[in-house]
């Protein structure tokens, strides 16, 4: 379903993703684990047509994300790592807009919107503007939105960041159900090892833009002689803390907040 061969992406001199290859089978739940700045989000951006690779080939359901981007986009759903809601629209309007962009027929859209909003505990507050929401509620709304159009492949980039255990549980149960009942392929990244351990069939550990290990949770543990996935992860990637510089985006966000712009 996802086929990546010798993928490399550079930003100027910096190599964010360095010659990685892997396959994800149809109906599989595949987890990408790595420290901050390891190249997870860059890889997801390339797989989801947002960035072009510097070298290597990528196939999503047999299609090239660079040249057949619209066809690829029809097949995928994404929950981004950072917020991507329109804060000046209500939850309901955000979902409506998404449904229209993804050509979900009105009747189906309304039914799914109701069930997803109920599932993630947002139904009562669907008419409120998103900027009134708490961080956790926004997160839940983004996840609901990503599931609205029943994609063939679901990309989840650190979806549980800032979620309480109840919502996390809700999310993973729902994702598993989608995977089992509708055969949705799932590609996820997370910092929570227990989640990867619980839901993912196979796990790739990425560091400094390279895949350092790939296999089932049991294989990774056996390979590093570790008792838990977390120990295995630390054994493979070291204990040193990674720096992520404050980007101009972060600074800009603060300025925008100060302005209270639209």
């Amino acid at each position: 379903m996802i086929d990546v061969e010798h993928l490399t992406r550079k930003f100027g001199e910096f190599v964010a993703v360095h010659d990685i290859s892997f396959q994800v089978e149809r109906g599989e739940i595949f987890a990408f684990l790595g420290p901050n700045g390891a190249g997870k989000t860059t890889t997801i951006k390339i797989l989801t047509t947002l960035l072009a690779p510097t070298a290597g080939t990528v196939r999503i359901d047999g299609l090239d994300p660079t040249r057949q981007s619209t066809e690829v986009r029809q097949r995928i759903g994404i929950v981004f790592q950072d917020p991507s809601l329109d804060q000046n629209l209500s939850a309901w309007e955000n979902l409506e807009l998404h449904g229209a962009l993804y050509h979900v027929p009105r009747k189906v859209r309304r039914e799914r919107m109701e069930s997803l909003l109920t599932l993630f505990g947002l139904w009562e507050r669907r008419a409120e503007l998103v900027k009134q929401y708490s961080g956790g509620m926004m997160r839940r709304l983004e996840i609901a939105r990503g599931l609205l159009h029943t994609p063939k492949i679901l990309f989840l980039d650190e979806p549980t960041l800032g979620l309480d255990p109840q919502s996390r549980n809700q999310l993973w149960s729902h994702v598993k159900r989608l995977n089992q009942d509708e055969g949705v392929t799932v590609f996820l990244t997370t910092h929570y090892m227990d989640e990867a351990d619980r839901v993912a069939g196979r796990i790739a550990i990425i560091d400094h833009g390279r895949i350092v290990s790939l296999g089932t949770s049991a294989q990774l543990k056996a390979h590093t002689a570790a008792a838990t996935l977390e120990e295995a992860f630390l054994a493979l990637t070291g204990t040193e803390i990674r720096e992520e510089s404050g980007t101009s985006t972060d600074r800009m966000r603060m300025a925008a907040r100060a302005w209270r712009g639209r």
């Binding site: 991507s84 000046n88 962009l101 800009m252």
Partner: protein, 248 residues
């Protein structure tokens, strides 16, 4: 087609919800219209040029449309920062449709702003010379809105953050306004200023609008229409091209 409509609707909803901003953005044109209009009126009349309010009203209406369409275009930067742009860019919709939807929405909201200021101008004593030429005046407003929304989209697609935004204000928006002949007649200008005004796209928009509303055009309406129409097409293409190159 559905995507164009929903994105247009989004711009409109956001606009109608920001009442405070609507009021705030009317403040500046009102100052120009009332303070400058009434303030310079005696001098203008003594110079034998007639009523200044009458003269400046089309310029201020054009200014309103200029500001609000440029800012709506540049709002792209905000959407990039708040992430919503990403949501639209990964949707299975051609980027061109997204750009068109946004542009139509931005142009619509700035037209509404322009019409609001027109209403205020009428309340302040401004009278168009004939009802028959109003559609032509409206056409010029539409062209101004499209041209500068496209400029805003081009700038917004190219800039990544707010630092550049202030630059754009100082070195693009204000010169476009002050060199457009919105505030003064194009006749008898010093050579350098005459050349600069003729290089400013807004000059032709203001002139066409003034021609239609108070029959005081400097150039022929055909020339104004041709320049603005040509620029609308060319700049929209440039905007679409820059928009298609955005990487998140």
């Amino acid at each position: 087609m559905g995507a164009i409509y929903v994105l247009w609707l989004r711009e409109l909803k956001r606009y109608l919800r920001s009442r405070v901003q609507i009021a705030a953005s009317l403040g500046q044109p009102l100052l120009y219209l009332l303070a400058l209009g009434y303030g310079l009126s005696p001098v203008f009349r003594r110079g034998g040029e007639g009523n200044y309010i009458e003269f400046v009203a089309p310029g201020v209406i054009a200014m309103t449309v200029l500001f609000s369409s440029l800012f709506s275009g540049i709002q792209l930067i905000w959407d990039r920062q708040f992430g919503f742009l990403k949501e639209t860019l990964v949707a299975p919709v051609p980027r061109l449709h997204i750009m068109i939807g946004r542009t139509c929405g931005a142009a619509t909201t700035s037209l509404i702003q322009g019409l609001l200021v027109t209403a205020v101008a009428v309340a302040a004593g401004f009278r168009p010379v004939s009802i028959g030429s109003l559609p032509l005046g409206f056409a010029f407003l539409v062209l101004i809105a499209v041209v500068f929304t496209a400029v805003g989209t081009t700038v917004g697609s190219t800039l990544r953050d707010m630092q550049g935004f202030q630059m754009v204000m100082n070195f693009l928006v204000m010169p476009i306004f002050f060199l457009s002949g919105a505030l003064y007649p194009l006749e008898h200008l010093p050579v350098l200023l005459a050349i600069l005004t003729r290089m400013d796209p807004l000059t032709y928009g203001v002139d066409g609008l003034r021609g239609a509303l108070i029959a005081r055009g400097h150039f022929s309406p055909a020339l104004d229409l041709a320049v603005m129409g040509g620029l609308a097409v060319a700049l929209t293409l440039v905007g679409a091209w820059r928009f298609s190159r955005i990487e998140i």
